[in-house]
Subunit: 272 residues, 2 copies
């Protein structure tokens, strides 16, 4: 099979005849800001060949969608770069099947990408979303006195499919003072949010997923729930879990059960 | 060194403090269409570790810029995903040095990306550009009677740096009937342009780079010059080479020296 034939197959699966020029042409609406994010998925680093190819494809897109959700955005399009070893045409088709199913459910258009050969499977998904001009949720707006919430229980296992919190994120527009998605574990991500905002956090409780532990909820990564702050009297959306509050202190420090929490989570380069 | 420290280093090199949220926020101007493209560079497929890291970085961005040039666009921002083996911090810094030098020269902002570990070096660069609404150069507008041109001599060696033809592409806006960049060899790329336009081509001559051959100019890839068509009486920009004309015939067929040219160029998946 040639590259052109493989691309034709993806084009048919995506039902997007627009793929074909050097670039994809996109016409943004007026009064919108665009959001850009990109995430890699690499064999033996982020997944194993034993994992279901459809799940890998779905997850590859879901991570970017979760970033869009964290800023209150609506996904518009994605670009998918994929490199596969010889003889992986079937794997590729399953990967795209999973990715495109989530793309359709979230109205994210597959706008193009790149296809190459490699020894290990490698993919990189760029997602572009939109949000009302100047309204994107940021990490740096948490203020002392704000209450802290998460959008769901934490410490879930890798195998479970990611449900990007897009609708939840949009409900926070104009209401949350700061927001981000939990992709590297609560302790590390909350540390980042507090550092960007120049504040400290007092953690009162952590909602733990069934079968998980507080430790895993704090230090495990890849929950893809939203972490956000709101002014003390604001009402959070249904399904929110109150976890603590923003307090004065050295920017980035977190207290839980009268101890300082060490920000620890997934870091590709620790001990390299 | 941790991931946060590595990202901080890139952030300082890019002089873009905006990198930090889940997504990069971009405000497009009204009356503009956006152009999206993405290209992978993989060790042992697109380059060797022996190649200069700065050149690899420059080339990784240049390929996307060339796609933007092919549609008459102006680059606005890029996202860079990079995966490197342990102990490659210095390589990464050189890679970014080369990439950022070209980014500055072409006013392309580094808007974010992703950093990961891997066994081999892998990178994927997404470029977003803009063009006046509805004015982007396409591949499907070549008409019988049009004259065919390229923006420079062909068959150049891999080692030479790519100069994306951004200014040249903008000069073609409203004048060229079709345009694309030559990334896989003239015979294959011209075949694609003719197929999209539903026409055939008569090739009269091929401008060959010093030290190269007609064969390499026809079948070698990665020239990154522009291939374009114009109505018979229109004047091409300075530095254009007239190579032939658009003729009636089976869409995609090319004649040169009274023979049919077999479209042949770089294909990652041929014989896989």
């Amino acid at each position: 099979m040639t590259e052109l034939q493989l691309i034709d197959r993806i084009r048919r699966m995506a039902r997007n005849p627009g793929i074909g020029d050097d670039c994809f042409i996109f016409r943004p609406r007026a009064n919108q800001d665009l959001l850009f994010t990109t995430d890699q998925m690499i064999e033996d680093i982020h997944f194993l060949k034993a994992h279901n190819a459809q799940s890998v494809g779905e997850r590859a897109l879901a991570r970017g969608l979760s970033d869009i959700a964290a800023m209150g955005g609506t996904p518009r399009l994605c670009l998918v770069s994929l490199a596969i070893p010889a003889g992986h045409e079937k794997w590729m088709e399953e990967f795209y099947r999973g990715l495109l199913r989530l793309a359709r459910r979230t109205r994210t258009m597959l706008a193009g990408g790149d296809l190459s050969r490699s020894e290990k499977i490698y993919c990189d998904v760029m997602v572009c979303g939109s949000v009302a001009r100047g309204k994107a949720l940021r990490r740096d707006g948490a203020r002392v006195g704000d209450r802290m919430y998460v959008s769901g229980r934490l410490g879930k296992s890798w195998e479970r499919p990611i449900r990007p919190r897009l609708e939840f994120g949009r409900k926070l527009l104009g209401r949350a003072t700061a927001c981000m998605d939990l992709s590297d574990g609560l302790s590390l991500d909350l540390h980042r949010l507090c550092k960007e905002s120049g504040v400290a956090a007092q953690l009162d409780q952590v909602p733990v997923a069934t079968g998980s532990t507080v430790d895993r909820a704090l230090q495990g990564g890849e929950d893809y729930e939203l972490l956000f702050t709101m002014p003390p009297r604001a009402r959070p959306p249904r399904g929110s879990y109150h976890i603590g509050s923003i307090v004065p202190g050295t920017p980035g420090t977190i207290r839980f059960e009268n101890r300082l929490v060490v920000p620890r989570g997934y870091d590709h380069f620790r001990n390299v």
